[in-house]
């Protein structure tokens, strides 16, 4: 999801101040196109305070001296509440304690993702990248108006006033933001505000503690924790094969379960609605359903992969073509040929999918770890036949997502609404079990890559031909018009089409496979497979050239200084080239995704029996200005762990058209025993900040594979890795 052009965020904006009714005086700051429709004719703020659709600001200063930062992005662990609050605190010179994040409502007219056009949502590691300038302006404008209010009150010039840690002062005079809020709201709105010189930053670049509170004492509320008066819980029986449908069902036994209230058929199965989860699940398990599998998936992973291999033999669609790769390969003495296989992967967020929906005469209200506000609003509006603004969404914390909650098909959200629609006025919590979640599809697509590459007489890459076979993620979704270009899904080729190494003859082709298996973006999307192939192939070429893998890469990255920067830093900090104990080896990989650059050096220990462990990872990251270094470190640690799961353990496979795995015993993910020591180094930078949620993930698998290659001579080309003993 990173291939949108980064547009310069307009600095033109207009700001509107307002008085307040009821709950306290607020200072609202608006950005382009935001305010006009939300203000009633007299500028009163009843709309704002009624809690319905329009809190209507990024920054709100309360008379209680809180600075509320409206967060338009989902907090799913990546630290966006902390990062976005940091930016506002910086430009306002607030105190960290007074800054409080608050989830913004679903309203694309004000809270759109500036890198997604007119759509609100979170993904592609864009939260900071699209918000940085927007929130700096919002914070600076708020500060400007507070200062103006103080200047007027004290009868002095604004430039005699300083602001620090939430205190506005001039000599012996001082006031808190809260004391000035009402007066500030009366101030004229600045046309243009000056932003801080980065040299004066006091928050940005420091590691202030996280703002997503309640996560160590059980008080944080996730979708799973919503409990509304009269709420019922639904559990759904889904078809055992993708593409299957309900032929008929017998619900007598299900309805006899104590606590079961109703059984309703929905688009993709049969739902049991009950007073609590356990009754609903017991009822669901008692359903007798006959499935119509006439249009369902019938094959196995092996049969699908065999088809992919055949497709790779045919002519694909060119995604990039430099020089004459066929001529160069046929003239080469030796051609390196490598095939790579990648399985489907489930996101398996810790919080299984769930959603609470109430449908009534006024519209529809949703409680959800909401990652794609506008898409889900539109899908719900279409389902219910209502206008988009009638869909109110309460964005809650998500217990992970890794892309799964950003589904253009809105699958689980629509499912919840289909059930809720049958009981107007009653909130319904749809809960997927872990098994439902593991088998529910929208996987990282399976892929096959074939690469043929050759060196010139000097050991430099001469030719590189790569074919990718896989399912398009965005085909058939609203994203298709701008994310599929000439038949090439940008999410399939990202990381390959822009591979950074200097290769005079380079050709990349794609083959679009089709299947009833629903697929979706999975933390770092295309780079989950393209980075592995690129970094494995370049490593093999370095070995073929008899060169050191770090030096070889450095030489081919002359036009990519930020790649070089992280690579050099990771190598230096890892002690690249220094001796290691017997059985231990290092591997390296470097990759850019979502405009952030990451290099990792992995150290592995291999046993005589083919077992191995990943012991230590040294990671260097360049994500522009490091807004909160500790959050960046945490995301690198987490991204490494997330990428290690498929490298070591996870895969979704099919047999007889059915998903084989069901829960964490067979869809295994890393546990604490698998987690290496991780050391993270951040490249100092004055570039605009870019995301860190995803870019740590794609680098670890190739770094480990390259370390295993160094230790054993075996080139691993499929995940999870299995060494021959």
């Amino acid at each position: 999801m990173n291939d949108f052009t980064i547009r310069k965020v307009s600095r033109r904006r207009f700001l509107v101040s307002m008085g307040s009714a009821g709950a306290g005086l607020t200072l609202g700051v608006y950005l382009p196109g935001a305010a006009a429709q939300d203000q009633s004719a007299d500028g009163a703020t009843s709309l704002l305070e009624d809690g319905a659709f329009a809190p209507n600001a990024f920054v709100r200063v309360g008379v209680d001296n809180t600075v509320k930062v409206m967060i338009k992005h989902l907090e799913m662990g990546q630290g966006t509440y902390t990062g976005l609050c940091t930016v506002v605190a910086e430009e306002m010179d607030a105190s960290w304690e007074q800054v409080v994040p608050a989830p913004a409502p679903a309203d694309a007219s004000r809270y759109n993702n500036l890198l997604w056009g007119p759509s609100q949502g979170t993904g592609g590691s864009t939260a900071m990248a699209n918000s940085f300038e927007q929130l700096r302006n919002a914070g600076a404008a708020a500060r400007h108006m507070l200062v103006a209010a103080a200047a007027e009150r004290w009868g002095i010039a604004p430039d005699k006033i300083t602001v620090s840690a939430g205190k506005v002062s001039a000599g012996a005079l001082s006031a808190t933001f809260g004391e000035l809020a009402e007066a500030a709201a009366e101030q004229p709105v600045p046309e243009e505000v000056a932003l801080k010189d980065p040299a004066d930053f006091v928050f940005i670049g420091q590691s202030f503690p996280r703002k997503d509170s309640g996560k160590t004492d059980g008080t944080a509320i996730f979708t799973q924790d919503i409990n509304l008066p009269g709420m019922l819980t639904a559990v759904v029986a889904h078809p055992p094969r993708f593409g299957g449908r309900v032929a008929s069902f017998d619900d007598v036994a299900a309805r006899a379960v104590n606590g079961v209230e109703d059984v309703v058929q929905v688009a993709n199965g049969v739902a049991v609605v009950a007073r609590d989860f356990w009754s609903a699940k017991t009822g669901r398990d008692a359903l007798e359903i006959t499935w119509d599998d006439s249009a369902a998936l019938s094959g196995s992973t092996e049969s699908m992969m065999a088809e992919y291999r055949e497709m790779a033999e045919t002519d694909g669609i060119d995604a990039r073509n430099d020089g004459d790769v066929d001529a160069a390969l046929s003239s080469a003495d030796t051609v390196l040929e490598l095939d790579f296989e990648f399985p489907f992967l489930a996101h398996a967020a810790m919080e299984p999918l769930n959603c609470v929906v109430r449908v009534d005469a006024d519209g529809c209200e949703v409680w959800n770890g909401e990652q794609m506000h506008t898409g889900d609003q539109m899908a719900l509006a279409a389902l219910l036949g209502i206008d988009v603004p009638r869909v109110k969404i309460n964005m809650l914390y998500a217990g992970g997502s890794f892309g799964r909650r950003a589904n253009p098909a809105a699958d689980y959200v629509l499912e919840a609404a289909m059930i809720a629609k049958t009981r107007p006025g009653t909130p319904v919590k749809l809960v997927w079990t872990r098994e439902d979640d593991t088998r529910g599809g929208y996987y990282r697509p399976m892929h096959f890559h074939r690469v043929r590459a050759a060196l010139d007489a000097d050991g430099q890459p001469l030719a590189w031909q790569q074919s990718i076979v896989g399912q398009s993620i965005v085909a058939g979704t609203p994203f298709e018009p701008f994310m599929v270009k000439d038949g090439v899904d940008v999410t399939m080729v990202e990381g390959a089409v822009n591979q950074p190494y200097a290769v005079p003859n380079f050709n990349l082709q794609v083959h679009n496979a089709r299947s009833p298996v629903p697929v979706l973006w999975w933390r770092s999307v295309g780079s989950t497979h393209t980075a592995f192939v690129c970094e494995s192939v370049i490593d093999e070429l370095a070995l073929a050239a008899g060169a050191d893998p770090v030096e070889y890469r450095m030489g081919l990255l002359a036009d990519h200084p930020r790649h070089q920067g992280v690579l050099a830093l990771a190598a230096e900090k890892a002690g690249w080239g220094t001796p290691l104990p017997e059985g231990r080896a290092r591997g390296v990989a470097v990759h850019e995704s979502f405009n952030s650059y990451v290099a990792q050096v992995a150290e592995v220990t291999v046993g005589a029996d083919g077992s191995f462990s990943v012991d230590r990872v040294v990671c260097a990251v360049d994500c522009g200005i490091a807004v909160n270094p500790d959050v960046i470190r945490a995301q690198m640690e987490g991204g490494i762990g997330f990428g290690l799961s498929p490298a070591l353990l996870s895969e979704i496979t099919f047999a007889d058209g059915q998903v084989v795995q069901s829960n964490f015993h067979d869809y295994q993910v890393i546990r604490i025993e698998h987690m290496p020591e991780v050391e993270v180094h951040i490249v100092p930078s004055a570039e605009p900040p870019t995301g860190v949620g995803e870019p740590g993930t794609p680098v670890i698998a190739p770094a480990v594979a390259n370390a295993l290659r160094a230790a054993t001579g075996q080139r691993l080309t499929r995940m999870p890795f299995r060494l021959a003993s």
Binding site: R210, F277, G641, N663, I670
Partner: protein, 152 residues
């Protein structure tokens, strides 16, 4: 069918079936939502609570098996070890999405209650049943050591 449970020192008489897992009695009937559902099969640790001080997986423990015992959930933690664990978790900013963390903290607290100076192997053994999909493991390890130091 009524079952009486002692949760965080309070008696709850709940109208639930004997075979309902403790997790759902705690969450859906006692209204305490800090204890999480992750897998339902004793595979992930998100649902960890203490029964008479020992960590158990509430998703796989029927209510009938714990009537008469003292159940402690994340909301009811009040030992010195627990306070040290929670303080260390905050000091090192362990959490990411946070969904697994009630279970992690329940397991870590039980570990420290029985072992005041755990090494890496002890930590791995005690915490291996608690999955964190955000992979906060590096910090979990460090925070347990930090908590142990603060208790020493």
């Amino acid at each position: 069918m009524a079952v009486t449970l002692t949760i965080n020192g309070n008696e709850h008489t709940l109208d639930v079936a004997d075979d309902m897992p403790l997790l759902w009695a705690i969450r859906d009937h006692a209204g305490l939502t800090g204890t999480k559902f992750g897998c339902g099969l004793a595979l992930c640790g998100a649902c960890t609570v203490h029964l008479d001080g020992n960590p158990i997986r509430s998703c796989s423990t029927p209510v009938s098996a714990v009537a008469g015992g003292n159940i402690t959930t994340i909301e009811g933690l009040n030992s010195k070890a627990a306070a040290a664990v929670q303080a260390a978790w905050q000091k090192l900013d362990v959490v990411q999405c946070g969904y697994c963390q009630s279970g992690q903290i329940m397991s870590a607290t039980a570990l420290l209650a029985g072992n005041s100076d755990p090494d890496d192997a002890d930590i791995d053994a005690a915490m291996n049943g608690n999955i964190c999909r955000c992979s906060t493991y590096v910090r979990i390890r460090a925070a347990i050591k930090e908590a142990a130091r603060s208790l020493a």
